[in-house]
Symmetry: C2
Subunit: 259 residues, 2 copies
């Protein structure tokens, strides 16, 4: 088995990273994927850099033990606070969410006034560059995880977190993997003068380019398979997971693991 | 140093247990307290029994190493899901939140129609007995931790979670340590026909009775001291902590610990 046959390793603090898996599967359908979601300790976005680094290294070690051809950090918080730590401890190429999204935003923006929303940790980190205006939107994560993806209970918080961007930026980075789930509600509130950038789409393109340029694309005839590992198998997460993957008819099998 | 001089050990998934510390300090001002809040892995209320038990045992071990005269599980979720596990692994007397609150509710209720709100884990556990009606109020924890303790953003969720209890129960157990912080808003919404039971007040009374009956009350002349330990020292937690303790003028010193 050559390196190109190995799976792509993907990890996240929880199930938010499944929105990245969704984009990877879309443009790299033949790739096998090993996913780790640290659902026993989610969320990371409210924690300190020290703890985020510690947890991220444990997640990384889990993937490295499984032999992968590259590592995708499918979490904006880890990408913003611990990417250097993860890269320094990995023999593999590691992809983070920040740079591809940052590049796309710069290309998209006409007035170079780019906004950023994310967790408290991400927004506090200064990892995203050339940001004109930023704010955390902490409660959107628990809201989405509770299945509140539309309606007045969501709208009150969309208004709270997004109103200041109106008329100020022309491009807004959705710097948390949970936000694509409510992208339509955000777009509806912001109107047509602000273009949203989804880092999940951008990181998937970057991974594809890397695999192609380095002759690492899986050329098997079948569709790729994904192994899902979670550190806690709470039934709630399983229910929400399908929503994140955009599958409504597929039964996905998650395996509980210790890290 | 006799057993009565030892501190009371208190642990919680995070800083919610500080509302229990507040009650203990109120009626047992001479007692020393050692507090552990597992802020690196909070919340527990969205996780599975298996993971809650595992984390609770790690919290317990931290306190047992420090020599305490009894252990207070200042977390409804751990009390509901893992109290037996904690008791089985402790050489000390262990107090949980459920029984004293349950007893108080039964004494308070005239029609024996008692309601319960708590985390998803607590409400799903059947640990509270003689409950006529129950529901989880999952989003109240992140709301309170984000400092949203009044106003329309809180009210929309109070209505969501509490409206079904109106006209159905005469007594309602606030089965999560975060709820006392927003007790006034809940009372205002529910009106005078429902009496609220705060488990923090009840467990403090039970601890006092136990210490008295067993000649374990600290009889020092000074006020007791509290050592605060957190597994993550995120500045956000520190800010909210004062709110939970009800101190506005005291600078509290937290120490970060590994468990």
């Amino acid at each position: 088995m050559g390196a190109s046959d190995l799976p792509i390793g993907v990890f996240d603090s929880g199930i938010g990273g499944l929105t990245v898996v969704k984009q990877l599967k879309k443009i790299l359908p033949k790739e096998n994927i090993v996913y780790l979601g640290d659902t026993a300790r989610v969320p990371y976005g409210t924690r300190s850099k020290k703890v985020i680094e510690e947890f991220a290294l444990e997640d990384l070690r889990f993937l490295l033990k499984r032999k992968v051809k590259c590592v995708v950090v499918a979490c904006n918080t880890v990408s913003a606070l611990a990417l250097k730590k993860v890269k320094d401890n990995s023999s593999m190429v590691v992809f983070g969410m920040i740079n591809p999204a940052n590049a796309k935003a710069l290309k998209t923006s006409k007035n170079k006034k780019i906004g950023l929303v994310g967790t408290r940790a991400t927004v506090g980190s200064n990892a995203y560059k050339n940001i004109y205006m930023k704010r955390h939107a902490s409660l959107l994560v628990p809201l989405v995880e509770e299945g509140i993806t539309k309606g007045p209970e969501l709208d009150i918080f969309i208004k709270k977190y997004f109103k200041d961007f109106k008329g100020k930026v022309d491009t807004l980075i959705l710097g948390c993997t949970h936000y694509p789930i409510i992208k339509k509600s955000i777009e509806k509130y912001l109107g047509q003068n602000i273009t949203l950038v989804d880092p999940a789409e951008e990181i998937a393109k970057e991974v594809k380019k890397y695999l192609k340029d380095n002759n690492l694309l899986n050329i098997q005839k079948m569709k790729g398979k994904t192994e899902y590992h979670l550190t806690d198998l709470n039934p709630r997460f399983l229910k929400t997971a399908n929503n994140f993957l955009g599958n409504t008819n597929t039964a996905i099998s998650f395996k509980q693991v210790a890290i």
